[in-house]
């Protein structure tokens, strides 16, 4: 692993205490050029994670707070009439940034949600007939409140699929929480963070992540996982081929983070909860189980060929 990547992780771990796995998953997601969905209660550090990542990676940062009256134009931008030259001039919306924090995405209406999700998918925005590319790298961290909370518009499965990973923050353990409570205000530290990386370096790293080697033996393993989800009685439907591709690209990024030049089954197992938990739905008697338990059972059910 490159030194700068190492430094990024170290800095992040200093601020977000007790969550090394989440930090690495978020980074893997970024390296795999995917987008990240964080689902948890308010106040467990979702926003802080996004802040820290953008600061240490030296990415332009924009935050969009989703509310029920948010309109697509509030995200994408509008053309405004200029009296000086008598022309319409485009004022880009907050989406034109390298890193977007879409906060509480499920509180906006589906119309606003889909404006963001289309931009994510196509890496470009079409406003008033003109197509404008989004900056590169482009990384969206969306947060959402648990579906049972009031005033939420749940994202449909098809749109959840746009996110490479969905992770949960969870409460910190006692020791980490003590450090958090006794330490300085997190916002102050974040403001002092220095970028550890140029965006060109990040792009190069995304490229090398794509080049990590995947052996036929590993493909066998991934296919065995896909097949299991399609045949097992406990899921409403199996994983799609796109989910298979997502598994591979996330595994490659994870292998890169681990400093390896080839993907091994452990990489797949590490990113599996993040990549498949929002793509699988349990049936009947299994649906009461936690999605973590479901994924762990999936891992344990598929032998490494």
């Amino acid at each position: 692993m490159s030194q700068s990547l190492h430094n990024v992780i170290q800095q992040a771990e200093k601020i977000i205490l007790g969550k090394p796995q989440q930090i690495r998953l978020a980074l893997a997601c970024l390296l795999a050029r995917g987008h990240l969905l964080i689902e948890d209660l308010p106040g467990v550090g979702k926003t802080t994670l996004a802040h820290v990542l953008s600061r240490t990676l030296g990415l332009q940062f924009q935050r969009i707070q989703f509310t029920s009256d948010l309109l697509p134009a509030d995200i994408l931008g509008v053309s405004v009439y200029q009296r000086d030259n008598g022309k319409f001039e485009f004022h880009p919306g907050p989406i034109f940034a390298q890193m977007i924090l879409a906060d509480e995405i499920n509180r906006a209406t589906p119309k606003a949600q889909s404006a963001l999700l289309e931009a994510m998918e196509e890496q470009q925005v079409t406003v008033e007939g003109k197509t404008r590319p989004l900056p590169s790298p482009f990384f969206v961290i969306a947060t959402q409140n648990p579906a049972y909370q009031i005033g939420t518009y749940a994202l449909p499965e098809s749109q959840l699929d746009r996110f490479l990973m969905r992770i949960q923050m969870g409460y910190p353990d006692a020791q980490a929480e003590r450090g958090l409570l006794s330490g300085v205000d997190r916002r102050e530290i974040v403001a002092q963070l220095t970028p550890q990386m140029e965006s060109s370096e990040l792009l190069a790293m995304q490229k090398s992540a794509r080049e990590i080697f995947v052996s036929p033996a590993l493909l066998d393993y991934v296919q065995a996982i896909l097949r299991y989800t399609r045949e097992a009685a406990r899921f409403t439907h199996g994983l799609s081929p796109r989910a298979g591709l997502a598994l591979l690209s996330a595994s490659r990024a994870w292998a890169l983070l681990d400093g390896r030049d080839a993907v091994i089954p452990e990489d797949v197992q590490a990113i599996l909860p993040g990549v498949v938990s929002h793509r699988l739905q349990a049936v009947g008697e299994y649906s009461k189980q936690n999605s973590d338990v479901l994924v762990r059972e999936l891992v344990e059910a598929v032998a490494i060929p």
């Binding site: 452990e266 891992v299 032998a303």
Partner: protein, 642 residues
């Protein structure tokens, strides 16, 4: 036991038992249904299964009940009933996978018993569906994690794989003469022509649509009014019922002036009687039969299985120009005390006629002109049945006319007899053959005239000529209680029925009718010489062996291509070695994870093993397949001392 699996097994048993419900004793069907419902409720509510003593009680009570019901515990009916009850009871003690396995095998066995009762295409299809359900339950038992759809697919594939074996067994399994499981009598308690006739017996029969036999003619079929299929010939009348009567006479008939030869193939449905049907008068049959003095074709044993025979008949003939006096005497016997008015009428005819032929003509014109009606629902007749009919109701079906006619003839001193059988039939233009149904049952008369021998006279033809020319549906009023299909159904329904009958006919000919003879013929055509059943059996075993070997080879090849390479083999060996020391690798555990676990449990192995795990991961999943590295790994793996 898994709930879904239990439901699957419940469905299997239900499907297995359902077709039997009809002929099981009512209380056994109800008991089985009750047990199934109870079991479904127990599964649904997750209640515990009943206690053992209760099951024992039900079992003994049920077995006792069956013994009382049938007066025995042996025999086919009892066996089937017992199996049904016990299979259902087995559901009540479904605790271990072994129980489910027993139930599945039992279901497979019991579905065969369906063939005791019906061997038709719908039955076969139903059994296939049942088999599919059973196999699906079986797959569920073996692989509980698979969802319904792939489970169904696996079951379908398994059944398909059984297809070649089935085909070999079907073609080559040595056939026993007669049906395999000795078709018992009661399977064919179906209605058909009887050896006696009383008013109402044929009109009852004509309500049945059941097929009596199918005929395909070689060449041009005869005219409809020549299609008289002779069944039992009735001689004796007791005033109400006509019966065969008894005679010691066995001399064969003498036919002269034979003409108009016709060849045809009859496929006779089993009717459990000894007579076969042939057009008047039969000349030659392909099965061993005797031709009686009154031209019936009889076999030694009853027809209990579908019988196919070719025959040749002569449609124009003179029969027994010289008849024995005793026979003529039998043709004149009458119960003198009955039907005085009819006897009186016949005496008048005798007095006014020049010869016997004139009397016949008088009688026919009498029937034709005195307002007689042809109907399926004639009124009931009193003690003097002929009188009541002739001078009272004047409504009757063919048996009334035949009976009255023969009575009159005998009273007028003309030797006569009643002939029962079938007349006409429905032409199936799809399969190019005729279907003769029970509703085509008919009765007519024969009189013996000097110089002409026995002559067929059909009095029904005098009243309702369209019955003979066109068939039953043309001759009775449309509101008569005819079977639905014997009326004039819409064209599409007729087509559908004819197509279906063609299919059923093919099924009968080629699947059910594939007997020793056909088997030998088929194998001869395939080029087998001097066939014996031993030879067939050997061929069958060889064929089965070949198919199984092919499947095995296919699967072995699969194994060979998926053989682990040397690196993986060495790694797996290593894992086995460690497993002996209580540290087995879980199937889903990656090499590095495993190494970490080993390191925690056996710190002295940590370094060496971690090194091996890293090397293995690199060799198995890495891009760089260095021969040197492989060699090193293999050496180190072999050298590891646990």
């Amino acid at each position: 036991m898994n709930k879904a699996l239990t439901y699957g097994l419940l469905l299997s048993i239900l499907m297995v038992i359902a077709p039997h419900a009809e002929h099981l004793p009512l209380w056994v069907s109800s008991l089985c249904l009750g047990l199934l419902l109870w079991r479904t409720y127990l599964t649904y509510s997750s209640n515990p299964l009943p206690k053992r003593w209760l099951l024992m009680l039900i079992t003994f009570a049920g077995t006792g009940g069956i013994a009382v019901n049938f007066h025995t515990l042996f025999g086919r009916e009892v066996g089937v009933t017992l199996l049904m009850l016990l299979a259902t009871l087995k559901l009540m003690e479904l605790r271990k996978p072994r129980d489910a396995m027993v139930l599945i095998y039992l279901s497979c066995f019991i579905i065969i018993t369906n063939f005791f009762y019906s061997q038709s295409i719908p039955t076969a299809l139903y059994m296939l569906a049942t088999l599919m359900v059973i196999v699906t339950a079986w797959v569920h038992l073996q692989a509980p994690n698979i969802a319904l759809k792939p489970r169904l697919r696996i079951a379908a594939v398994l059944l398909m794989q059984a297809l070649p074996l089935t085909l070999i067994l079907f073609i080559l399994f040595p056939r026993v003469q007669g049906p395999l499981w000795g078709m018992p009598q009661d399977a064919y308690a179906s209605s058909g022509l009887d050896d006696k006739m009383s008013p109402g017996s044929l009109s009852r029969l004509s309500l049945s649509e059941a097929v009596a036999f199918r005929v395909s003619y070689e060449g041009k079929p005869p005219l409809r009014n020549q299609m008289y299929w002779r069944g039992p010939v009735l001689w004796e009348f007791d005033g109400r019922t006509w019966t065969l009567g008894r005679t010691a006479l066995t001399s064969p008939p003498k036919f002269t002036e034979l003409g108009q030869e016709i060849d045809y193939v009859v496929t006779l449905e089993p009717h459990n009687k000894i007579w076969l049907f042939a057009l008047d008068v039969p000349n030659k049959l392909s099965v061993p039969v005797t031709l009686t003095y009154d031209f019936q074709v009889l076999r030694k044993e009853p027809v209990t299985a579908r019988l196919r025979y070719t025959a040749r008949s002569n449609l124009s003939y003179r029969a027994n120009l010289q008849e024995a006096t005793r026979q003529l005497q039998r043709g004149l016997q009458l119960p003198k005390l009955y039907n005085p008015r009819a006897q009186k009428l016949a005496a008048e005819w005798r007095a006014n006629s020049a010869n016997d032929a004139a009397i016949v003509r008088t009688a026919l014109s009498y029937f034709n002109q005195q307002g007689f009606q042809y109907t399926l629902e004639p009124p009931l007749l009193g003690v003097h049945s002929v009188d009541d009919f002739m001078f009272g109701s004047k409504q009757g079906f063919c048996e009334h006319y035949a009976s009255a006619f023969v009575f009159l003839m005998r009273a007028a001193n003309v030797p006569a007899r009643v002939v029962t059988g079938y007349q006409g039939g429905e032409f199936n233009d799809v399969g190019n053959y005729y279907i003769v149904r029970q509703s085509d049952a008919h009765a007519w008369a024969e009189v013996w005239l000097e110089g002409q021998g026995w002559v067929r006279v059909d009095p029904t033809g005098a009243i309702a000529p369209e019955r003979v020319q066109l068939g039953l549906s043309a001759s009775v009023l449309s509101n008569a209680a005819l079977p639905f299909m014997a009326r004039n159904p819409p064209q599409w329904m007729r087509d559908l029925r004819l197509n279906w009958d063609t299919l059923a006919n093919q099924w009968n000919q080629w699947v059910l009718g594939y007997d020793t003879e056909r088997q030998f013929a088929f194998l001869t055509r395939l080029g087998m010489e001097s066939i014996t059943w031993q030879k067939i059996a050997l061929n069958m075993l060889a064929g089965l062996g070949l198919v199984i070997a092919l499947f095995a080879l296919f699967m072995l090849r699969h194994l060979i291509t998926h053989q682990p390479d040397k690196v993986q083999a060495a790694w797996l060996k290593l894992c086995r070695k460690l497993a002996k020391y209580g540290l087995p690798r879980a199937a889903h555990e990656g090499a590095l994870d495993y190494a970490e676990r080993i390191a925690a449990a056996r710190p002295e192995l940590a370094d060496v093993f971690f090194d091996l795990a890293v090397r293995y991961s690199a060799l198995r999943y890495g891009a760089n397949q260095d021969e040197q590295a492989r060699h090193e790994f293999l050496q180190r793996a072999a050298a590891l001392k646990v």
